[in-house]
Amino acid sequence: MLHNFMLGASIAFTPMSLLFILFGVLWGILGGALPGITGSIAMALLLPLTYNMAPSVALMMLAGVYIGAMYGSSITAILIRTPGAPASAATVLDGYELHKQGKSGVALGISLYTGTIGGLFSVVVLIALAVPLANFALAFGPPEYFGLTIFGLAIISSLAGKSMVKGLISGVVGLILATVGMDPFSGIPRFTYGSEELLGGIDLIAAMIGLFAVSEVFIQASEKGSWAKVDEAFASKLPSWAELKSTLRATMLGTIIGTVVGIMPGAGGTIGGFIAYNEGKRWSKTPEKFGKGSLEGVAAPESANNAVTGGAMVPLLAFGIPGSNAAAIMLGALMLQGLRPGPMLFQNNPDIVYSLFVGMIVGNIFMLVTGYLFIKPCIKIVNISKPILMASIMALVTVGCYAINNNINDVWIALILGVFGYLMRKYDFSPSAMVLAMILGFMVETSLRRSLVISYGNISCFYTRPIALVLIVLALITLIFPIVRSIREGRKGTRNTGPAA
């Protein structure tokens, strides 16, 4: 263990790695601050560049983007009441109030400091959980992996959309897209319709760039209004020690909530931020201040959304199951290099896993150091007009997708899925669920078929192996519980309104 950490540190503390982590953090803060550009979009835009990097460096840089973006989104949330990413939506409530009261610097400082605390704590939890979980998962066979992927997909799809049916449809369509290409068992081409290009399947990186980044550009471009200009001259006085100490309780709550929410597949910074805000208010000594410029009202969601970063890496590293867009992109970066996260990665490439642990700690410290200084340059870029930014992202996407395989077809895939993602979001379907299902699709099918191969076609392997059984039952509960609840609530609803009508 200690040996592995030394190995990780020796990779993370090279000038090249440090430089890329720093770049990642700054890119993340900027992407986070830009309205509409979330951390995962900022990460997706960098994906094509990781092709030539060592996998460990690529992962550390992407983790840096993820970390930086969680803080960056609070900058515009506080200064112009527009959260740069939904993860800071709850921060707007008190952050913007503080800005109006002339305490912009205090609010930004609280966001930065509590975010760093949340982020660092979550990395510690990540290390404490991922290593034993990965050891545990070493014993998993195909039936367990089938249960695990089905359970993950069930949670993701049922949480993702505004309606559960639409979330599930998004997931199934993702699974369908994953079946395109060569059949892993018999080797025959499936759903390629004669196209040579599709034999290798739909390129995942291009699909993620299309569904996350291109669809967002279409949405932003179609909206007539432009972003509010950020005033560069804001009160820059930082929070005092006493002010920071006053947020201790909210920060602790936010940190724990964020870490737990991060571990859950399908939930992310946005949900974490809102729950933390509510709990922060409930447990606060001065709940009446919430909504009127409470420091705790900034500390709770901002520590939570940064704490999500470490939590989200737990299922990704331990089981190879991404639970969020950001984790999906990290997985994409690994797959680009021919690697797959999961327990075997700990065995075969401990350097990658442990350098990521160290890199995430470094990333949080870089954020703490540069976060405040970087606000001004960030504002300058946010103030560049929206048309120029959107056009630039489109050009970057085109070149980036082309660069993955030197192939124009990947650009077409990104564009077509961009339009598809736009329509999905317009009609309340979930591109995230679709991407995660696309990633897990291969694993779901191969683990199912492999299970039956090793059990000679006997399906008892799914209910005689306790872990597989538990996971499959959990998946079924996840799918059935909301339906039962909605029926019960429906009945209650009619009973309540009955007499009145």
Partner: protein, 168 residues
């Protein structure tokens, strides 16, 4: 009744039928592998058709009422924001179709005109189309960005960007 949901549901049912039909030529399961290449897709086609019909039925039965199948106001509020950046802003279809159309045109022309010609053209026209009126800034940004992308991808990363018919 939400017509959009019904139309989407019908499209999905047709799609799942087509997807299922595509599996008809696949070889049957082998002796060692008893599910075969068609099993999983068939399962998916059936699931999708079932969910699509559920979507249609839901839209017909629950007129007007939507999204009632979930609890927790906080989670709902959060989810609305998670993926939904459709704000209260008015949507301009000129901007939308202009951006989509230009992007497709750009990708189509990049192999013919080459990266160095099509990219600045694409940027200049899209930036103007989206309502930015200062030509000098537009030109500077478009040419500057093209140069930056070229330096990053072609020079630093060694990607051979399409040269086009004029340079090859």
């Amino acid at each position: 009744m939400k017509w959009s949901n019904i139309i989407i549901g019908v499209i999905l049912v047709i799609f799942s039928a087509f997807y299922y039909y595509s599996t008809s030529e696949y070889p049957p399961p082998s002796k060692t592998e008893n599910l075969g290449p068609a099993f999983f897709p068939t399962l998916l086609a059936a699931t999708l058709a079932f969910l699509a019909i559920l979507l249609i039925v839901n839209s017909i039965i629950f007129r007007g009422a939507s999204g009632k199948d979930k609890g927790g106001a906080v989670i709902q509020g959060a989810e609305r924001l998670e993926e939904d950046s459709f704000g209260a802003e008015e949507i301009s279809y000129t901007f939308l179709f202009g951006t989509i159309g230009l992007s497709f045109l750009y990708v189509g022309l990049i192999s013919i005109l080459g990266f160095l010609i099509s990219t600045p053209l694409f940027l200049i026209i899209l930036i103007r189309l989206l309502g930015y009126e200062k030509w000098t800034n537009n030109l500077a940004a478009s040419i500057g960005l093209t140069a930056a992308l070229y330096l990053l991808f072609a020079t630093a990363l060694g990607v051979s960007l399409p040269a086009g018919i004029f340079f090859s």
